[in-house]
């Protein structure tokens, strides 16, 4: 516990530097606000943040669920058919190396500036890690295990259900962790660009109004949300990994 308390020194250092800088420079609150002012805005007007935060969270998680499911389903289809695997894998690898965040404007134009577009964007962008990692997981079988299934004349379906899917679980857990932080990022970018609501819109709008305390509050809240989701999914990943060792 003491060790963990000691380990947050970089965060405290950053906050201290920020506070010192503001006090020393003596800027007006239009130019710069102190961490104290940001936290007091967060504490005094929680209702201004609650609804946008819940909205961002809902869209991130909803899109993540759809993207993960779609990725897994296509990975299973590719596992069943070599042809499908052959034509999809190069694209999946290519797309997972492209900066997909930059595709959000295209998705926004294709589906319109609406709430569903945000959901589609999150689903599309979390689909890639899910597909790539589950496809790899379904093929990373323990040595000789597929021979056993073949000797025992298991059907393709039985092999999938009893061998490949359980063997892919650790990779699926990793996909969930990667996708979770991604989902918050994509939801925020979509909200920032399309101004459909949520934390991304909150900091886009308050920046324009020079209400810096609220803009930074929204930004800190978004970071907290993303880190919380990351820690949660990392815990899931760890427990899956220890279970499978």
């Amino acid at each position: 516990m003491r060790r963990q308390l000691f380990d947050i020194w970089p965060v405290i250092l950053l906050l201290l530097l920020w506070q010192l800088w503001v006090s020393a420079a003596g800027y007006s609150s239009i130019v710069l606000v102190s961490p104290g002012a940001v936290f007091s805005d967060l504490l005094h007007f929680p209702e201004a943040y609650l609804q946008p935060a819940l909205r961002t969270l809902a869209f991130a998680l909803g899109g993540l669920a759809i993207g993960m499911a779609a990725g897994l389903i296509l990975a299973i289809a590719a596992w069943l058919s070599d042809f499908l695997a052959g034509i999809t894998t190069p694209f999946a690898l290519l797309l997972s190396a492209t900066p997909v965040v930059c595709l959000i404007p295209i998705v926004a134009r294709l589906f319109g500036y609406e709430a569903r577009t945000e959901l589609i964007a999150v689903a599309v962008m979390t689909f890639f890690p899910s597909f790539v990692l589950s496809a790899a997981g379904l093929r990373a079988l323990p040595p000789m295990s597929s021979d056993v299934f073949q000797v025992l004349q298991a059907s393709r379906w039985q092999t999938l259900r009893l061998l490949a899917l359980p063997a892919a679980l650790p990779q699926l857990a990793t996909a969930l962790r990667v996708g979770a932080t991604y989902s918050v990022l994509v939801a925020l970018v979509a909200e920032y660009l399309m101004q459909t609501g949520g934390l991304g819109t909150l900091f886009a709008v308050t920046m324009q109004q020079f209400h810096l305390a609220r803009a930074l509050g929204a930004s800190l809240l978004a970071m907290a949300l993303s880190v919380a989701l990351y820690e949660l999914t990392r815990a899931v990943e760890q427990s899956v990994l220890t279970h499978y060792r």
Binding site: I87, P90, P99, C102
Partner: protein
Amino acid sequence: MKPRSLFYALLGCLLLLGAWELLGRSGALGQTFPALSQVLSVYLDTPKRALLLRSAAATLGSAAIGYAAGAGAGAAVAVFAHLVPILRGGLDRMAVLVNALPVIALGPILIITAGREDTPAALAAVPVFFLLYISTGLGLRATSHRLDLMFTTLGATRWQRLIKLETVAALPSILSGMKIAAGSAMIGAIVGEWFGAPTGLGIVVLNSMQNFQIPLLWATVIVIAAITLTAYGLLTVAERAARRRIG
């Protein structure tokens, strides 16, 4: 790559490009889904090509500055933390946290601290810094214990061990970090431009999105993807070469 999978990959490419062209021409997906040929013709249009080249230079510039600064600082801090282990716990924790942060949420903070013009480079530098901090740290600790013992026995100083052994052993891991960081730097630069930079590919994307210049929007996104994939490909080659020599 086996000839069979190469064949499938090529077939997949042709199928996708063909489907894109046909779907775009038919207009089944609406005005916002242009045909491939429409997108490619943007590159033949002289003023638009000039705009794209100018913007790409600006974005590449800020991404490269952020990348170099972030990578240099990240590697330096990792070496420092390697020599002063008491700092490592906190820095490691911080690196994990920053990796989980959505870059766009850092935008408002960087606009205030770095200003609108330098936000793209700063936003590119932040994720690169932490990726390089993590990969350099991992690489430095991956030094073979036996070689370490041998150096110590032969009377190498701490400094000599660091320069001649640990840094060399860390190279593959550092290059692997640099490979992943290339994409992060590009995303950081583009998102940073969305916070009001004067020029850049991010600005072209934003403007063409708002003004319904659909082929230009697609053409710009393809340029962004091509730059990122080129950097990623070059660093993959470098990483493989390093792993063969050192690995």
